[in-house]
Structure formats: C-alpha cells, structure tokens
Assembly symmetry: C2
Homo-oligomer: 364 residues x 2
C-alpha cells in the first residue's frame, strides 16, 4: 500500500531516515566514548527501542514505571527510569521489575531514596541509583554538590541500592548547535565542580548521564559526562528543525492529513487537530503555527481545535480542495506520537507495516 | 478502595456530580422542548453515553467515524457524525455503520455530499444529512443561506441520502451566561434568516442542531434551534468554570497527582505534565496556568513538560512535601480525558470502578 492510500489522519515514519538517525548518533557516541541510553518517551515502541540497542545503545531510558513494564515485557533490559519513583504501589511494581531486570532509578530526595532502598531490601533485590542534579534546567535535581554528596552517601553501601552516579538534563540549552559551546561550557563547569566533590569524597560516579537531542552532537563538549539520553533524535520535529539541530532530511515522521472543509474564506480545515498533533506550541522563535507543511511553507497551520486543524491559505500558492492531502511535520513529535495507538512505517512511500505505540497512556 | 489509595496520576470522576450534570441538562432540554444529542468527544466512554440516552438524549454526537464504530459496537444507535466524512476508506466504514444504525452526517461541501450519496446508493443504504452552516464560529460551515439551500437541494430527494436539516456550532460565544443574550440574539437573527430561506424554498428542516456547553442553559434564546450538542457539561472544567458557565460543585472530574520533587527552590514537581493534562491553555481570561488546584488556589500549576507538572509554591500557604497528593481540575477536560486509557469513578471518595476510554485514539 502506498502512503497515498492510508486513511487520515495518520502518523507515518520513513524507515530510511529513522535508521540513519539511529545509526548516526550511535556512531557519534562510539567516536566520543559516550554511552547512549536513548529516552524512549519519544516513540514508546519496543521495536524501535530494540533497534537502538542493536545500533549500540547500552540500555534505554523511560519516564514512568508503566513504560518500563511495557519495555521489559517486550524483552528490553537495562532500563533507567529517569524519574523519581514515589509511593507504595509504584515501589511494588518497581521491585517486580527489578527482580528480573537491571534497573536504574534517578532521584533527588531522601524520601525517594528511603522508599526504594527499603522496598528493595525487603524484596531481596537491588537497584542502581543516580542522583539527579540541577545544572540549570530548574525542574528537578538537587541544587548543590553538598546536597548531591549527601544523597549519594546515603545510597552508598546501603542494602537494596547501589550508588551508580549522577544524572542531569541540560534542557535549558535551546539554541542552535553553533551557539551552544558557551552555554555548554557553563554546564561543564558546574559538572566538573560536582565531580570534583565526589572525587574528593571518595565516591566514584560510574555513570554521569546527561544529554538531549538539541545538544546531542555537541555532547563531547560537556567534560565528565559519559552517557547521553536523547529521545527526539530518532524522528526529529519542527522544534529540532527550527533550532537548527537537524535538517529537513532528518525529519523521519509526518502527519498525513486531508482537507475536509474549504467553506470559510481564506481558510481550509484538515482532519487533525489537537487530538492528532497535540497542542504544543513551538518552543523557540515566534511560537507560531502547529506544524510545518513541507510541500508549501506558505500554507500555515495556524490553529487547532480538537479534531480540526485550521489552515491559513491566504498566502499559499497551492490550490487546495476537499480531499487534498498534506504531509506535516509536527511541532513536538513526542506529544504527537503520544496521541496515537499506532503509527505506520514506510520505505520510499510504500507502507511496510504499523507499530503499536505500546507504552502510550502508561502515565503512572 | 479510597481515592487516596489510587496510584497517580489518575483521572477520577465523582459519580454524584456526573449524574447531576447529566440529569440537569436533560431536564432543561425537556422544559424547553429541545432535543439533546450530547457530543461524546468529551468522555469517549460508551457507558456514559448510555446514561445520557437513559436521561433523555435522542442520540449521540461523535467527531470521527472511528468513534462511531466504537459507540455502535457498544450498542449505541442514532449517531450524528458532526464532521465531514471524506475519502474512500471512511465512506466504506460509514456505509457499514449505516447498514445497521441510524446515522446522520454533517457536511458543508458538494464533494462530501456526492461521496456519501454515491456510496450509500451503491451500498443500498441511506443516511441523514445536516448541512453545516457557519453562524460566526469561522471554522466549518457554508457562509450564506444561498449556499446552504444549494447543498440542501442537492441532498433533497437524492438516492442514498435524506436531507434532515442544518447544523451549526456557536463556539464563538465564550462569555459568561449573563453576557450571552446579545451575542445569542445575533446568532438567532442569522438562524431565522436561514430558516426563512429554507421555508420559502419549501425545504423543511426537521433538525436544527446547535448548542455548546457554555451556552447550554441559554439555548432557549436561540430561536428556531431544536437540538443541542454540548459535550463538556458532563464533567465541566476550568474553562467552563472561569467562564462562569458552571460552579466548582459542578466539576465532576479531577486529576490526582503526587509531588515527586521539591529540590528546586519555590517550586514543586507533580507526576503529571502535558501527557496527563494536555498542554491546552485556558481559552479565556489570562490564559495562565494548566489547572486549578482546588484545595489551595495560591498553589499554581504554571508549567508543563511531558511528565512533569511545574508548581509555583511561592504564594502557597500549604506545606508541600514529597508524596503530597493534589486534586486538580484540568483546563480542558476533553483533551485531558483523551490522554488516558482509563478513568476511575467514585462516590464520596470510594472508588467504585474504572471505565475504559474506549473511543480514545480513534482519530480517523
């Protein structure tokens, strides 16, 4: 079946581009002796996670216990939950996972550590601990080397857990790659200071995990980091493109949509809105539009209601009519994929199959 | 099980409030001789649709063919697809639905009408047609009485279809109910003009379908309208509340979330972000915040990343710690529910069960 025959809206992935994206970052990591532990929150698809492992990733990252359950059930091992696991129910589920799989968990509080250590000790199992440190993102993470050391010391030699190192997310670095060096050297400086403290305290960090898609190919500029966890790089999206962190040819995923109404002057409506694309705005720049219409950038996706995408056709050269099909790069590919139960894959426009977005909706 | 024992994030519905919301609008519609055909895009749950029918609704509304498939499979009948059905695959599926169920479809183009009429005629079945008219929303809908009449005439006495009336969506009326009369009289005027044209042409409109949640209890002010299609009223949300179109006591749905990090000063992180709440902004007013924290409005949900909700705790009197649980009214309940595979229901805090959001993800 050709892409043109797929019912819309449909999310489609170009396998050639996906494979190239996976291969290229794996190759970069090999060159720079960086471990790659891709964040699977972007695709939530075990089949793609396995390809990432086959290309050289040391393991995978997930955000939620529920995502870890889906991934381990599909045979993935060596998982990092880059999210504090809090509460009795989640701890029980985490211990069930840890009994058969190598599990790492990031955390930034004594409460989270105490919960995990006690549960693991009682369950007779063990988990690796990464202390999350805030190197500028201001979301999670302890604020000072002293706090990081305190948590690490509490994890060190404690039954049920093994202190493995530190984790951070440089999500604040959202400028084009050629403008990143000065920002990354600020991250580097904080990290070196942190690692010095650990070194002096005699607490070695086996894992120093950071990295994001926008900074992926500048990861070697962050001294001391030995692992990265980018997610978006497999597909890329309008955010990555506008940032100059990928090219149009690197965008593996499109939303196919059909024009269903042209009744209102200067406007056309496509059959996908916020329940197809997500309502995420562009993260940088003018923050306008909800996607990039590849064939005609003059045609703008200016608005979203739940099932209607609102096109401004006033500056478009393209004649649009009911039934016209468009191929659109979403602003934020992670939240877009999260809307869908399945996504299709193709080579050169020939649909080869369909993946279930198996870990979708595993919010807890 | 008590709500306090549910793993988070979790979406929970207070059955007493839900039932009261369903009953109250059904009662209003009976009083004013209005047919009620609730839009099920809000909940996507056949069980709730059945309650709406039992309370007096004449049928249900859906946005997509896929949603109609789920609803009819669950035994619902008399469905309106308030969305133009375009393309061969969807037409085939629509005909399969029409062979066993009473189906109405809204449309605003000759292309949509031709497709449906031809497919229905070939399939030996018949569908009701509502001509969608734009009475100010500027999304879909023909622009003039002449265009409406032209489409209606094309549907009249045509094999495969039956012209049933007109449909509009007064979504542009987003002011508090007491300020709505002047806006609704503008809608009324356009509608009367439209109905006059149909009357003069000898094309009776059996169904004149409009209505939204914000205007629900002012529906009697739109003269000539005999059916309404509100969706949100079953649960209500922060949008409805801020608009003054419901009270806090009418908000049936909450997101339960847990504080998982307090490491960053003046901030706390909860375990739900845009993949739990959706990233929809408030539609009216300051457009700030991503939900209302009922117990402490000084505690603000100011930011969203995929799995992190960012709380500004600087003006909160409430002591927050890791593990603190919050109950939050989402900005837009339709897009919030759409994130989840299941939602829980309770009475007085005792969890009674869980619905599958069965029509979720049926985007085509």
């Amino acid at each position: 079946m050709h892409l043109g025959e797929l019912d819309t809206p449909a999310v489609v992935v170009d396998l050639d581009v996906l494979e190239r994206n996976i291969r290229r970052l794996a190759e970069y990591c090999r060159q720079h002796q960086l471990s790659l532990r891709p964040h699977t929150k972007t695709h939530k698809i075990p089949e793609i996670a396995r390809w990432q492992i086959e290309a050289g990733a040391v393991g995978i990252t997930v955000a939620k216990v529920g995502e870890a359950e889906v991934m381990t059930a599909a045979g993935l091992d060596n998982l990092l939950i880059a999210y504090p696991v809090i509460g009795r129910s989640k701890l029980e589920r985490l211990m069930a996972l840890a009994s058969g799989n190598k599990m790492l968990v990031a955390l930034d509080s004594a409460e989270a550590l105490d919960g995990i250590a006690l549960a693991a000790h009682q369950a007779g199992t063990s988990l690796g601990i990464l202390v999350e440190c805030d190197l500028g993102m201001k979301r999670c993470g302890v604020q000072t080397p002293e706090e990081a050391l305190r948590l690490a010391s509490q994890a060190h030699n404690r039954p049920g857990v093994e202190f493995e190192g530190i984790l951070f997310y440089p999500g604040q670095v959202r400028v084009p790659p050629d403008l990143q060096p000065s920002l990354l050297s600020a991250v580097s400086e904080k990290l070196e200071h942190l690692l010095d403290s650990f070194h002096r305290a005699g607490l070695p960090c086996r894992i120093v995990s950071g990295g994001s898609t926008p900074t992926a190919f500048n990861s070697h500029l962050i001294k001391g980091m030995n692992e990265i966890r980018p997610g978006t790089y497999v597909f890329n999206d309008r955010n990555t493109l506008e940032l100059g962190a990928c090219t149009l040819e690197d965008c593996a995923l499109r939303v196919l949509a059909t024009v269903v109404s042209t009744a209102v002057p200067n406007k056309a409506i496509i059959d996908g809105g916020s329940k197809t694309f997500s309502s995420d705005r562009l993260m940088a720049g003018a923050k306008e539009d909800f996607g990039l219409i590849v064939a005609d950038p003059g045609l703008r996706l200016v608005g979203m209601t739940e099932e209607h995408g609102h096109l401004d056709i006033s500056r478009s050269a393209r004649p649009l009519h009911i039934g016209s099909r468009l191929s659109i790069i979403p602003n934020h590919v992670c939240t877009c994929v999260n809307m869908h139960n399945q996504i299709y894959y193709h080579r050169g426009g020939e649909v080869q199959g369909c993946w279930q977005v198996a870990a979708r909706g595993r919010v807890s």
